[in-house]
């Protein structure tokens, strides 16, 4: 077994035994190329070096009984005794299991082989070439159990869920960047990251206590390596983004047919108005529908947009110090044909220094500056609603300014219709973000190799300056702005964290023991200031000051919070003979946010490495097998501290006006409205059990990680409506279960020059509301939470079919299924709903859950190969079992003559026998079929959100050792990347990846395919 664990070959060349020798040699891949940058360390000292461009190294003054450690990322670390040799050539082998890889865990690190919890590590190298503005976006499909939902808007980070959703409030994981806590890491560049550890289960995450309920992602920014010459690397790509899966709408002719079928008397005049103004002719009887205006609003709103990233890294180290500095620049233009884009400039520096043998100090910092010019997403919805019978521009429209946009009013449309292009263009809103994350640490060694104390202080300041300037315009009576309005916002976050950690490790014989105790204090401060004014001079951003506006309209308001917490935590781990592992953690968290201040979060974990047992010595079926089991408790403090409204409302809104007599102006008399709805909340609690195994076989070529998890959230905050009001009041009422399997299988092999890998990962999710504190259900505005059903399920009537003729309607009246009053509003072509409760009567009790936006199965395939100088990688991602609500379609309840999507036209019911699934044109304009309330709607509007996507294809070619005069360039790699080139789904949408956590499809910025040309230069 052990020889398989260290599946490596070493070539030892004999030498003379001397007291101190100079050792040199070459390090190469097993049977292949020399390796550049392998670190060679003299054990027990801080001395060492790295291999040069030809894989050579030299180390002087090496004692002849010394041990050298050869370490290279992705390969098995080797410790080799010098035994007096002066030449030592080493072959390194791939470490398929990465057992010796150092994994960052909370407040420390551990070797992969010693873990008792499922922790997935993603290296920075895997993120660099993926064109995403936020590093988390590059993780799609890479880690089972981590669901990444991307947004198409420039600079907008993805929504990340780890192992389902266990909270009605916030489900984003905790990000710990170099010890500092964040809600997202959109300020980081993909190239700033050394590695990410994803702590999926409670036993690993419990060390972060009350913040950890949604999983934890620990990010370490780039660091230098000791004894390494300066390594200069440039990484960059340039490419373009293009919208895919364009949603096809009805053209003018199809729209006209739909309206004429639905109700000619109601709608013909709009069509006539289009013909009168923009040409065309229509004769419904003869089937002639020709329109001079036939605008495809999506075409008018979309464009191909540029995206580019450049980053430069310099890192290295001496015997006593390591350093890494970098800068990067990202630019992403938006695919909406309007002013919207994102750019970000990052600087980063890290320095660690061993001041004395017992004191090590270090500093690192990231400064990030970004500008996000926001798109107006309502234009996407309006492009869906506005029919094509109007051109974008109309020179004959006398009122419009500054641009000659066409007005829906010309066609007789009123308040629900807007010119989508004008909506997108008359928009100017941007945020400037400045963020500085800094961290200082000092490490004191009391007993070398055993007892260390580390204190670190992190400080983060981020500032967001927002400016929204709306300049006057006129498109129609319903789409205009008379006075300019300027809004400025200033948002500041100040955070500090002070961590003190004492670490002890020791071993006796076959026993290895580790202990960590720590204390942390933290403060999060937020302040927000907003000012507004009207009538600010337009034309030049230099005029955009509130002071320039109409002083009588200026307003200011502000808000803020300050939360403190302090925590004590410990971790004990014990290992016996590389076979039995035990871990225990405990955290006590105190927070100023809640009434109930202290929470306690324990966890335990154990593992058994079967393959190291003597009875496993002679079997062939497992090279490595470890069984793991763990349990832990977590908290979610991302819920408000209290709910309801102040027991007393005051101000103008709660004051009657008196004395508005004749021409006089009345005044409010101070009033109050006393409506006492208030509750103190506490954090949500999660208890999770995880059972899993790590396995490898067939010469470690096949590896598998399988985990089963069962996580139960209690005290989940949910807000039932107070009867007869629009107000809901939150309480810790819910219990939510998330359970499932995370599985990843990987195959790695080499055939001559041909290296290849194939990986498949999937996760299942069983999500159910377990209890609502005695209630059967809590109905929200969009979805229902019902005991025994999935969280946030869509709710409404199940469509059983389409009434094909009047006889069917009459028969349903006869049988008492529907009343005569209902039948009065029904015609053939309308929906017939299912009798889901089987009582023979159709009424509101027949509403049922219609699925939810949470997928029950997600999967990814990753494969790739390298041969000679070529490398290729492909990854896919898919989800299954999720539903989404087509709010775009359902909005027709508000305006019956909105445009239709092409599917509604092509599949419509046109007469008996034509279809039993899609309604007639007229039905789409009627409340029976299109209800105003989403929770009284029907299954026609609930669509499958399943999709399969080729997430990324990268093809690279490397030039190695390029001679440039006397200088040899170590390597250049050129790559072509297609990100999200292909998506397959059935929903009538641009994408099933929605920013709305409950799965409403409206105002969604389309996702795009991105094609880039990348360049990596190692200097």
């Amino acid at each position: 077994m052990k020889k398989l664990l260290c599946a490596s070959l070493l070539t030892l060349v004999g030498g003379t035994a001397l007291a101190d020798v100079t050792v040199s040699g070459t390090v190469a891949e097993k049977g292949g190329e020399p390796l550049v940058g392998v670190s060679v360390l003299l054990n027990g000292t801080s001395r060492g070096t790295t291999t040069d461009i030809d894989g050579n190294y030299t180390l002087t003054n090496v004692p002849d009984n010394a041990v050298l450690t050869f370490r290279y990322f992705g390969m098995t670390t080797q410790e080799i005794k010098v035994n007096g040799r002066s030449s030592l050539n080493v072959e390194m082998a791939d470490d398929a299991l990465k057992l010796d890889e150092v994994v960052v865990i909370g407040y420390g690190s551990a070797k992969a082989k010693d873990l008792t919890a499922p922790i997935t590590v993603v290296k920075g190298d895997e993120l660099i070439n993926i064109p995403t503005s936020s590093p988390m976006g590059a993780l799609t499909g890479k880690v089972p159990g981590v669901n990444v939902l991307n947004s198409g808007a420039p600079g907008e980070g993805p929504k990340v869920q780890i192992r389902g959703v266990g909270s009605f409030s916030a489900s984003n994981p905790l990000y710990v960047v170099d010890g500092m806590f964040y809600d997202n890491i959109n300020f980081l560049n993909n190239d700033d990251i050394q590695d990410m550890s994803i702590l999926k289960d409670a036993s690993a995450a419990a060390i972060y206590g009350v913040k950890a309920a949604n999983g934890v992602v620990i990010i370490t920014t780039k660091k230098g390596t000791k004894n390494q010459k300066a390594k200069v690397t440039y990484n960059g790509y340039v490419g373009f983004q293009k919208a895919t899966n364009l949603l096809k709408m009805c053209n003018s002719s199809e729209y006209a047919q739909m309206l004429m079928e639905a109700n000619p008397t109601a709608y013909q005049n709009f069509l006539d108005a289009s013909i009168a103004n923009y040409g065309g002719r229509m004769d419904a009887a003869a089937g002639i529908y020709e329109f001079g205006a036939d605008t495809n609003w999506y075409d008018e709103l979309l464009r191909t947009a540029v995206m580019t990233n450049h980053s430069l890294n310099i890192s290295g180290g001496s015997e006593k110090a390591t350093y890494s500095v970098g800068l990067s620049y990202l630019y992403q233009n938006g695919i909406m044909k309007a002013d919207n884009d994102y750019n970000r400039l990052n600087f980063r520096a890290q320095l660690d220094y061993e001041a004395t043998s017992w004191l090590k100090v270090g500093f690192n910092g990231v400064f990030s500056k970004s500008t996000q010019q926001m798109a107006r997403n309502s234009a996407w919805q309006q492009a869906f609603n506005m029919p094509g019978i109007m051109p974008v521009y109309d020179e004959n429209n006398p009122m419009t300014f500054p641009e000659k946009f066409a007005s829906p009013e010309t066609l007789g449309f009123t308040s629900n219709f807007y010119n989508p292009v004008a909506r997108a263009k008359y928009n100017n809103s941007r945020n400037d973000n400045y963020q500085a994350m800094t961290n200082f640490f000092a490490n004191i060694t009391f007993i070398p190799g055993k007892l260390d104390f580390k204190t670190s202080y992190g400080y983060d300041f981020s500032s967001i300056r927002g400016v929204t300037m709306d300049e006057p315009y006129y498109v129609s009576e319903y789409q205009q702005l008379k006075q300019s309005t300027l809004t400025k916002q200033s948002t500041d976050y100040n955070k500090y964290v002070w961590d003190n950690v004492l670490t002890y490790r020791d071993s006796w014989g076959k026993h290895t023991f580790g202990a960590m105790v720590g204390y942390s204090m933290r403060q999060d401060k937020y302040s927000w200031l907003q000012g507004k004014a009207n009538d600010v001079p337009v034309g030049n951003p230099a005029y955009w000051y509130i002071a320039q506006g109409d002083q009588s309209t200026t307003q200011a308001t502000d808000n803020g919070y300050r939360y403190r917490s302090q925590s004590a935590f410990t971790r004990l781990n014990y290992e016996f003979d590389n076979r039995y592992l035990l871990m225990f953690t405990f955290r006590a968290d105190g927070t100023s946010k809640y009434q109930e201040k202290w929470g306690y979060f324990p966890s335990v974990g154990g593992a058994w490495v079967l393959s190291n047992e003597s009875f496993m010595k002679n079997q062939r079926w497992a090279d490595y097998l470890k069984l793991r089991a763990s349990w832990g408790m977590l908290g979610n403090d991302n819920v408000a501290a209290s709910a309801g409204y102040a027991s007393i409302n005051v101000g103008n809104g709660a004051s009657g006006v008196f004395g508005s007599y004749g021409n006089g102006a009345g005044l409010p008399v101070n009033g109050y409205q006393n409506t006492t709805y208030f509750s103190w909340l506490k954090w949500e609690k999660v208890a999770e059990t995880n059972v899993g195994l790590s396995y490898s076989t067939l010469g470690s070529r096949l590896t598998a990680d399988i985990d089963w998890f069962y996580r139960l959230t209690s005290n989940a905050v949910i807000s039932p409506l107070i009867p007869f009001t629009t107000t809901s009041l939150a309480g810790n009422y819910g219990k939510i279960l998330n359970s499932g399997f995370d599985v990843s299988l990987n195959w790695n092999d080499r055939v001559g020059d041909f290296n290849y890998y194939v990986g498949f990962n999937f996760s299942t999710l069983y999500n159910r509301v377990r209890s609502l504190d005695g209630r059967d259900y809590v109905l929200g505005g969009k979805t229902i939470n019902k005991v025994g059903e999935r969280m946030n399920s869509f709710f409404g009537y199940e469509v059983a079919g389409i009434y094909q003729n009047q006889a069917q309607i009459d028969a349903d009246v006869q049988s008492g299924f529907i009343t005569q009053a209902q039948a009065d509003g029904i015609e053939p072509g309308y929906f017939r709903y299912a009798d889901t409760n089987g009582d023979g009567v159709f009424d509101s009790t027949d509403r049922t859950t219609l699925g939810s936006y949470l997928p029950s199965f997600t999967y990814g395939i990753n494969l790739g190969f390298s041969v000679k100088n070529f490398d290729f990688a492909l990854s896919t991602y898919g989800q299954h079992g999720a539903k989404m609500f087509n709010r775009k379609r359902q909005l027709r309840y508000a305006q019956t003559n909105y445009n239709f999507d092409h599917d509604q036209y092509a599949n419509r019911w046109t007469g008996e026998g034509s279809t039993n699934t899609n309604p007639s044109a007229k039905a789409l304009t009627q409340g029976w079929n299109v209800a105003s309330s989403a929770t009284a709607s029907n299954s026609y509007f609930v669509e499958s959100a399943d999709f399969f996507r080729i997430q990324n294809i990268t093809l690279g070619y490397s030039f190695k050792k390029i001679k440039m005069g006397s200088y040899t360039l170590p390597g250049i790699r050129v790559s072509l990347t297609a990100d999200r080139p292909l998506s397959i789904f059935s929903a009538n949408a641009f994408t099933p990846e929605l920013s709305d956590p409950e799965g409403w499809d409206t105002e969604v910025y389309p996702l795009s395919s991105t094609y880039t040309l990348g360049l990596q230069i190692d200097f």
């Binding site: 010309t410 204190t455 109409d550 709660a654 006006v657 004395g659 508005s660």
Partner: protein, 503 residues
């Protein structure tokens, strides 16, 4: 065990590093931007009007929801929703097809119960003040204030019965069961409230009140008279309206056109008005009800005023038949005031734009219209200044006339007062039919009065039956969204006040 010693040593380092922050002191910080909620000081009697003022605010913020404004009027034979779009409002207006899942129906329920709850808690607050009152004059003030709040609560219940008939008696904000009671139980409860107000409020005209425009005994009597009219208790109608008329405080405002505009606000005809203000300033805050007016207004323009154009949502229109009927009656003053016809110019010089959609209405409600010239310079709509007239003396006169005729007496005197202002010839020996016609004209498009007349006088079958009205369509269904929250709403209504109060 040297290492244990070292652990202790290191622990000492940590402890000394953290000793300066005692555990809970560090966490014990005040919540930002929240002054702790002070209890109301019930000993300060000078603030006793605050909960009352809050109850008045609820008329503005709850009662005057634009969709409810529409739903009041679109079911009679004179007014429709104005948009031939086949939507829920259209179906309700034209075909009496009610969709219990419609959001606007739910809005009616929530907004009026919102008022009821604000009033309930205002009365609880007033009782707290009362505990600290020592003088009899303060007690009288307390009772008068309670009366004002009860009038507002009765108004909310009146609206609920108007729309839903049977509905929940929500007598306590923490009430458990929300089962409905019959309309008559609600009426009984309302009349008790109004009776209290009649006994305790001030006998003044609202515009004479210290809080100018606040409700008085006469407001309560007018509202009670409306209830009695629906109950067919004409002697009580006569008693209530006689008392108002005999007070001599009320007169019809001379100019029917300006009655609805800025000059007519809180005039001597006004018994109940929802007040708004723009503080007389062209910019800055205003306290108004924008959408209520926007909803019903056409678009209009005037080259000679500071505000050149104004555009409403163009909902709610008069049927052509009704306009013709009014014209044939020889209406002049009320005709120009009531009807805003597209393509015409109002007496104030505003041109009403023709509705671009010929299938939609081209005649809107002139009563809510304010001429552009009356808008405070700087403001961009009239919605933030005009008051909403809720109960007028004209309605009192018409109820008085009807009660008298129903009781076999002569109703000519109050009736002809209305006719005179409208420049219509006086009649003698007026009949019920003539009174109903007069109500139809005088109260056109006001608060569903016409629909209520059709129902209470048994005219609905004849006049709107052809469009699908049946007795079963008298009231709207309980909104399904409310049944979702409180399933007991499906149960049979309670028919005794005592039982309803025991919930």
């Amino acid at each position: 065990m040297k290492f244990i010693k070292n652990i202790f040593a290191a622990s000492a380092v940590i402890l000394s590093a953290t000793a300066f922050t005692a555990c809970d002191d560090y966490l014990d910080i005040a919540t930002e931007n929240k002054v702790p909620e002070e209890d109301v000081d019930f000993t300060d009697i000078s603030n006793m009007y605050m909960p009352v003022s809050g109850a008045y605010a609820s008329i503005r913020t709850n009662h005057m929801h634009w969709a409810i404004g529409m739903e009041f009027v679109i079911r009679d034979d004179d007014v429709w929703n104005g948009n031939d779009d086949g939507g829920d409002f259209y179906n309700m207006s034209e075909h009496y097809i009610y969709n219990a899942g419609n959001w606007a129906l739910d809005e009616i329920w929530k907004q009026f119960y919102g008022m009821v709850k604000i009033c309930n808690s205002a009365l609880v607050s007033l009782d707290e003040y009362a505990k600290n009152i020592t003088s009899e004059s303060d007690m009288a003030t307390y009772r008068a204030y309670c009366g004002e709040v009860r009038i507002i609560r009765a108004l909310a219940y009146y609206r609920l019965t108007q729309f839903f008939g049977d509905c929940t008696l929500y007598h306590n904000n923490t009430q458990g069961s929300l089962r409905r009671s019959t309309r008559d139980v609600i009426y009984q409860y309302m009349l008790e409230d109004l009776d209290y107000a009649i006994k305790n409020c001030e006998r003044k005209r609202p515009n004479q009140m210290a809080h100018q425009g606040a409700f008085t005994v006469y407001t309560a009597e007018a509202l009670a008279a409306k209830v009695y009219l629906n109950l067919g208790q004409y002697d009580k109608v006569k008693e209530m309206t006689d008392d108002i008329i005999n007070s001599g405080l009320f007169t019809l405002y001379n100019d029917y056109y300006q009655l609805w505009k800025i000059p007519g606000r809180l005039c001597d005809e006004s018994l109940m008005e929802c007040q708004c203000t723009d503080f007389g300033e062209g910019t800055g805050d205003y306290i108004g009800i924008d959408q209520y007016f926007n909803c019903m207004m056409p678009s209009m323009s005037n080259e000679n005023t500071e505000l050149k154009t104004y555009g409403g949502w163009q909902n709610v229109g008069y049927y052509d038949e009704f306009v013709e009927w009014a014209r044939n009656r020889g209406e002049t003053v009320r005709f120009t005031t009531t009807f805003l016809q597209g393509g015409t110019t109002t007496p104030s010089g505003d041109y009403i734009n023709v509705n671009a959609n010929a299938n939609n209405t081209n005649c809107w409600n002139g009563k809510w219209y304010v001429p552009l010239e009356q808008i405070t310079p700087g403001r961009t709509g009239f919605q933030n200044r005009n008051n909403v007239r809720v109960i007028r003396y004209a309605e009192v006169l018409l109820m008085n006339a009807e009660a008298k005729v129903r009781l076999g007496q002569n109703g000519d005197a109050p009736f002809n007062e209305i006719r005179r202002r409208a420049a219509m010839p006086e009649l003698s020996g007026v009949t019920i039919d003539q009174i109903l016609d007069e109500r139809r004209m005088e109260l056109a498009c006001e608060w569903g009065e016409r629909y209520n007349d059709l129902i209470r006088c048994g005219l609905a079958e004849r006049l709107i039956g052809s469009r699908g009205w049946t007795p079963a369509k008298t009231y709207l269904p309980v909104p399904s969204a409310q049944i979702d929250i409180a399933s007991e709403l499906k149960e049979e209504p309670i028919s005794s006040l005592e039982e309803a109060l025991s919930l």
